[in-house]
Symmetry: C2
Subunit: 345 residues, 2 copies
């Protein structure tokens, strides 16, 4: 079968690789119906050291179960399923608490020898704990939004929860990528009154406004902070969704939170230390977040997708086949596309 | 009157200074009944650059109101009161939410030209919002515990809240100073099942055990982390109270928190950036805390002091007069005393 392998910064290839097969009795084999390219895939795309063996890519997908191991109970061949970006056993104490990304058996697709989803098919470890069966066919019109439940919509929701978004609160979203845009949806869905999107790409800003953003801040650094203060009566926002992961974005996130406010981090940190130890301390600002347990959120978010209350699939503004995946990386990295969906068939 | 002035690292002097007087109509003048030396006073004691004008010291006190400005309504001469380490107006939106340390008119005693409490008397700005009237006389036997409501007991309680301590949880307290010891009291009071005190001073550890600590970890760094993991089934604790403020202590605090756990910071940060950006992210560990709004907590904690359920005043193991304050700093800095109480009369 064909799959995406990255060999270094800017070097993404589509290759023929062995078909996946059941290894453990808890595995399933999933044919990929739709996959996509993630903003976090752009970190290796711009920085990965050359590798002879390469890195299998992709961690977001909706697919159809093709085969299951002897111990799999909750999905069967033919089921249409969401594949969260992390696999988890569904039985440990962290899974029971809804923090599947800290499962004692957790793993991440496209990492540490586990194949990625920008491929025709892949092996799903711990299928019972990982896959979520969908009540739709594989060509359902809602497929783009259902696909976001594998990562970006759940991640935006996680940022909003970590930032303690609640009815009537003021919210700022740092980053106008797909996660930031889903963060706008999540903030609105949780009842935020004011939602400030911080970004500077016209297409993304336009979508953010349709998703519910009430204010736009296109400045950066100190000017962005000053602008948010002006928009919030001088104090800053109650909740900040940090959807970038850079030193400056986290510094800005902390600076625009009002005293007693909270920052929800979902941008994968590209730094060793969290900046602004003193401002965050003196402001009693809570810093939370991390890899989103999207598996835990599917139940709740799926209902809103199925009933049309949210439409996060609109973050996809390009659909490509597998062969075009290398150009899809380039397009996202050049900010030519917000998020690229891959149809491997 | 006599007051404590610090002129540089190790240079603490008792001097004659002008008596305080009403400046604003919202001021009160308070005679100090008991003050004390704070762990945070040891930061300038070990690092302050030489100063010609000096720094007025002390931010914790119980006193008697001697005079009030024309607009003061809630306290009157003769009232015995707790003076929280910060003054606040009691009327702004942050005060109403119980975050008086972010009051729009906040100030800190012994800072920015506001006199300190290691003195015979001092001016209290915003007396109505700041002072808390006590239902006892000035020689009440509970005075040591009442004095802790001005800072360390409220600060330990704040750390416990920020660390999300709750019934049945496992807790670690990093730092065995007076705040850490009060953190043990706070954790037990909030129902923690396991309370690990991390420290290595025999007298403090003994007191921690009497306050409710169930386990002692005297190792540091990686060894301390390993030991806490052993004590908690391999995962770390739900809640960490960070009562030091150094890079290494915060790094340890994050490392011993279990996935999904929380660190409550009350040690004044001595660093620019919070270490362990990635481990805290990947563990979905929440980092909260800051200057405690002790004014908000007096109501609740006072009842427990008055009814004998908590006895935080036991952190004081030395009582001195004003003239002995310089030696009191030395004794705390040498870890000869846990916390020194000052009786200026």
């Amino acid at each position: 079968m064909r799959a995406t392998v990255m060999y270094g910064a800017g070097d993404v290839r589509i290759e023929n690789v062995p078909d996946p097969s059941i290894i453990e009795r808890t595995d399933a084999i999933m044919r990929v119906v739709r996959a996509c390219i993630c903003g976090s895939d752009l970190w290796p795309y711009t920085s990965m050291a050359p590798s002879e063996t390469g890195q299998s890519m992709g961690h977001e997908a909706v697919g159809v179960v093709e085969d299951i191991g002897a111990d799999v109970r909750t999905v069967k061949p033919g089921d249409v399923v969401v594949m969260p970006f992390a696999f988890s056993d569904g039985t440990c104490e962290f899974c029971h608490k809804g923090l599947q990304t800290a499962c004692v058996h957790v793993g991440f697709f496209g990492n540490n020898g586990i194949n990625g989803a920008q491929a025709e098919a892949l092996r799903i470890p711990l299928a019972d704990g990982t896959l979520f069966r969908l009540p739709v066919g594989e060509e359902d019109a809602l497929m783009p939004s259902l696909l976001t439940l594998s990562d970006v919509m759940g991640t935006g929701h996680h940022a909003a929860l970590a930032a303690k978004v609640a009815p009537g609160k003021s919210v700022a979203v740092v980053g106008d990528g797909a996660v930031g845009l889903c963060g706008v949806i999540a903030a609105k869905r949780l009842g935020a009154e004011q939602i400030i999107i911080m970004g500077r790409h016209a297409d993304r800003i336009a979508l953010a406004k349709e998703f519910g953003a009430t204010d736009i801040v296109s400045e950066r650094g100190a000017e962005a902070v000053a602008r948010v203060k002006v928009l919030t009566g001088g104090y800053g926002v109650h909740s900040v969704l940090e959807c970038v992961g850079l030193d400056q974005s986290v510094e800005t996130a902390i600076a625009i939170a009002r005293p007693g406010g909270a920052v929800g981090r979902v941008g994968v940190p590209q730094h060793e230390a969290i900046p602004s130890a003193r401002p965050s301390f003196y402001g009693n600002i809570t810093i939370g977040g991390g890899p989103a347990p999207v598996r835990a959120y599917i139940d709740e978010l799926l209902l809103d997708v199925l009933e049309g209350r949210i439409d996060p699939g609109r973050v996809f503004d390009r659909v490509i086949g597998l062969d075009e995946v290398p150009d899809g990386y380039r397009a996202m990295n050049d900010r030519e596309a917000i998020k690229v969906m891959v149809n491997p068939s």
